[in-house]
C-alpha cells in the first residue's frame, strides 16, 4: 500500500517545481525548493518501507541537514539582495542576460 505515498511525493514534487516556476518572491521560490526536497524525503521513507531496509530513513535525516544548511545560505543571499534592491522579486534581478 505504498503507492499512495509515492503518488503524494510525486504531487508534492510537482507542486514545488510549479511553485518555483510560478512564484516571483525569492523566499517563496526557495520554499518551493524545500518542498521538493521534502517530497524526496517522503519518497525515501516510503521506499525504505517498501524495500524493508533502513537506508532510506537515514538518507531522510541527511537531507534534512543539507536542507537546513541550504536555508542558511539561501536566506543570507536573498536578504542581501533584498537590502540592496528593496525587493525580493526574482524577476527584478535580470541585469545579466543574452
Amino acid at each position: 500500500m505504498t503507492a499512495h505515498y509515492l503518488v503524494l511525493s510525486g504531487l508534492l514534487f510537482a507542486i514545488g517545481a510549479m511553485g518555483v516556476l510560478i512564484r516571483r518572491n525569492a523566499i517563496v521560490v526557495f520554499m518551493c525548493v524545500e518542498l521538493m526536497l521534502n517530497a524526496c524525503n517522503l519518497a525515501f521513507v516510503t521506499f525504505a518501507r517498501q524495500n524493508g531496509n533502513l537506508e532510506g530513513q537515514i538518507i531522510a535525516f541527511f537531507v534534512m541537514v543539507v536542507a537546513a544548511a541550504e536555508v542558511v545560505v539561501g536566506l543570507a543571499i536573498i536578504v542581501t539582495i533584498f537590502r540592496t534592491r528593496r525587493s525580493a522579486s526574482v524577476d527584478d534581478a535580470n541585469l545579466l542576460k543574452y
Binding site: A17, C40, E55, V63, I77, V90, L95
Partner: protein
C-alpha cells in the same frame, strides 16, 4: 545481515587528503570566530595554501607509496581509485592556483551585508579588511569537489554536491565591483542549483526505490538482473542526469553558466570553470559508468543528443557575445560538449574504456589549466569601474601590452585546439577515443560516434571563429584612446598565468608525461 551493528571503519590514511582540506576549513572557521580581524588574513592565507599543498602532497604519497589504490573506503561510501586520485590532484593544484588569484587585492567586497553605496560600506572600505571568510568557504568548496567525484553511493554524492555548491553560491556574491551583478548571479546560481539538486535527490530516491540501495555498484548489480523498463528506473535516472548535467552545464541545462560566470568575482569564476567542471565531470563518469554501466545501450543515444546539442549551443551562442567572461562561459559549455563525446566513448563491454577514460582525464587537465590562465588575465585588464569586461575595450591590446595579449591569444588558440598547444592534444585524445570505440565491435552506435566526432569538428571550427575574433580585436585593430589600464600584477597572478602558460606550452609540445599519468590513473578504471 546480523542484527548487531558494528562500528564503522574509516581508512584515515586513504582519505587523508580530503580530511586535511575539511579540517583546515573547520580551523579556518574557528580563526574567523576567535582571531582578531587584523590577524585573520595573515593566518587564513598560509593555512589555506598549506592545507591545499599538503593535501596534494598526500595524494602524491598515496600514488607513490601504494601505487594507485582501488578500494571503496569508509564502508563503501567513498571510492579512492585512480580517477579519484587524479581528479583530486588536479583539483588541489587548481584551487591552490585560484587561491593565489583570490589573494589579489580588490576582488572581494569589504562587507557583503552592507548595501552598495551606503555609509557602512564606506566605513567597511575604510576599515580595509575584506571578507576573510572567503578562505574557509573556498576550502569547504574544494572539499566538496573532492568528495563529489569520489562518492561511491548517491547519498555521499549528494552531500558532496551540496558541500561543493553552497560555498560557491555565497562566494559568487562577494565581488567588490558591480555588486548588483554579483549578487544577482549568486541568487540565480543558488536558486537554480537548489532546484537542480532537488531533481538529483528525487532521482536518487527513485533509483533507491528500484534497486533498494543507493550504492552505485549495488544499482548496477540490480540493473544486471532487473527489468530495464521500470519507470522508476528511467525517471530516477533522468532526474539524476538533470542534476549532474546541470553542474557541467550541458544543454539544455546550461542557462545559468553565462550569467553566473559573468557576475561572479573572476577568481571564483576561474575556480568554477576549472574545479567544478572537473569534479562534476568525474561524478558524471562515475554515475554513468559505474552505476549505470549495464544500461549504456539505453543512455548513450540520449547522451549523444545532449553532447551534440551542448557543442552546438556553446559554439554558436558564443559567436555574438560581447563580454569576455560570458564568451568564455559559452566556450566552457562547448568544451563540456567535447568532454561528453569522451563520456560517450565509455561503455560496458568496451576494451577501449581505459583509453577513453584517460583521454577525458587528460582533456580535463589541459582545459582547466588553460581556463584558469585565461581568467587570470581577465582580472588584469581593468577599467576605472573594475575589470574591462566588454570586448570592445580589448581592441588593440596587442599594441599596448604585447606580452599579455600574446599569452592570452595563445590560450585562445589552445581553446581552439591549434596544434602545438595543449588544447590540440586534448581534443585529439577525445576524438581519437570516440572513433576508436566507435569502430569497436559491440558498440551499439558505431557510425554515430563518427558522426558525433564530425559534428564536434564542425563545432570547433565554429568555435575557432570567436576565439579568432578576440585575437583580431587585440592585434589587428587600433587601440581605443581611453583603453583599459593593465593592472600591475601581483606575484600571485603572475605565478598563476605562468603556471597555466607553462602547462599549455609544455603539454602542447611534450604531452607524453601527462598522458602517462592519465593512463596510469585510468589503467584499472573505476572500481565497480
Amino acid at each position: 545481515m546480523n542484527p548487531i551493528m558494528q562500528a564503522p571503519t574509516i581508512e584515515y590514511g586513504t582519505l587523508a587528503p580530503m580530511l586535511l582540506v575539511f579540517g583546515a576549513a573547520v580551523l579556518g572557521v574557528l580563526v574567523e570566530a576567535f582571531a582578531p580581524r587584523y590577524l585573520r588574513k595573515v593566518m587564513q592565507v598560509p593555512l589555506t595554501l598549506v592545507s591545499l599543498g599538503g593535501a596534494f602532497a598526500l595524494v602524491l604519497v598515496q600514488v607513490i607509496m601504494r601505487g594507485a589504490p582501488t578500494e571503496a573506503v569508509a564502508m563503501g561510501a567513498v571510492a579512492v581509485d585512480g580517477p579519484s586520485l587524479f581528479i583530486w590532484g588536479v583539483i588541489l593544484v587548481l584551487s591552490f592556483v585560484c587561491v593565489l588569484l583570490v589573494n589579489d587585492e580588490g576582488h572581494f567586497v569589504a562587507s557583503a551585508a552592507a548595501v552598495p553605496g551606503s555609509a557602512d560600506e564606506e566605513e567597511a572600505e575604510a576599515a580595509g579588511g575584506a571578507h576573510t571568510e572567503i578562505y574557509p568557504l573556498l576550502l569547504f568548496a574544494v572539499g566538496g569537489m573532492m568528495l563529489f567525484p569520489a562518492a561511491h553511493d548517491l547519498l555521499t554524492m549528494f552531500v558532496g554536491l551540496e558541500v561543493m555548491s553552497l560555498p560557491l553560491y555565497l562566494m559568487c556574491g562577494l565581488a567588490r565591483r558591480r555588486r548588483l551583478l554579483s549578487q544577482e548571479s549568486s541568487m540565480k546560481y543558488f536558486l537554480l542549483g537548489a532546484f537542480s539538486s532537488a531533481f538529483f535527490l528525487y532521482g536518487t530516491a527513485m533509483l533507491y526505490g528500484y534497486a533498494g540501495t543507493v550504492s552505485l555498484p549495488g544499482i548496477n548489480k540490480a540493473l544486471a538482473g532487473g527489468a530495464l523498463l521500470d519507470p522508476l528506473l528511467l525517471i530516477g535516472f533522468a532526474m539524476l542526469g538533470v542534476g549532474l548535467l546541470f553542474k557541467i552545464g550541458a544543454a539544455p541545462f546550461q542557462a545559468w553558466k553565462p550569467d553566473v560566470y559573468q557576475g561572479a568575482p573572476t577568481p571564483i569564476t576561474a575556480l568554477m570553470a576549472s574545479g567544478t567542471l572537473v569534479a562534476a565531470m568525474g561524478a558524471v563518469l562515475r554515475v554513468f559508468w559505474v552505476g549505470l554501466g549495464n544500461l549504456d545501450w539505453n543512455w548513450r543515444p540520449v547522451m549523444w543528443a545532449v553532447a551534440a546539442l551542448t557543442m552546438i549551443v556553446g559554439a554558436v551562442l558564443a559567436i555574438t557575445q560581447t563580454d569576455i567572461k560570458r564568451m568564455l562561459a559559452y566556450s566552457s559549455i562547448a568544451h563540456a560538449g567535447f568532454l561528453l563525446i569522451g563520456v560517450m566513448a565509455t561503455f560496458d563491454k568496451s576494451q577501449q574504456n581505459a583509453g577513453s577514460l584517460s583521454a577525458i582525464l587528460f582533456y580535463l587537465l589541459v582545459y582547466s589549466f588553460t581556463t584558469v590562465g585565461a581568467f587570470a588575465i581577465v582580472t588584469m585588464v581593468r577599467d576605472p569601474g573594475g575589470e574591462a569586461g566588454h570586448l570592445s575595450r580589448w581592441a588593440g591590446l596587442g599594441k599596448r601590452s604585447p606580452l599579455l595579449a600574446g599569452v592570452f591569444a595563445f590560450f585562445l588558440l589552445a581553446f581552439a585546439g591549434i596544434p602545438l598547444t595543449s588544447g590540440f592534444f586534448g581534443k585529439y585524445a577525445v576524438f581519437a577515443a570516440a572513433l576508436a570505440s566507435g569502430s569497436e565491435s559491440g558498440d551499439s552506435l558505431g557510425g554515430w560516434m563518427t558522426g558525433l566526432v564530425v559534428l564536434g569538428v564542425v563545432a570547433s571550427a565554429v568555435a575557432a571563429f570567436f576565439y579568432v575574433r578576440v585575437i583580431v580585436l587585440m592585434f589587428f585593430s587600433e587601440p581605443a584612446a581611453d583603453g583599459p589600464s593593465i593592472a600591475e600584477p601581483s606575484m600571485g597572478t603572475v605565478a598563476v598565468i605562468a603556471v597555466a602558460a607553462l602547462v599549455t606550452v609544455g603539454v602542447g609540445i611534450f604531452p607524453q608525461p601527462m598522458l602517462d599519468v592519465a593512463h596510469q590513473a585510468a589503467a584499472n578504471l573505476f572500481i565497480r
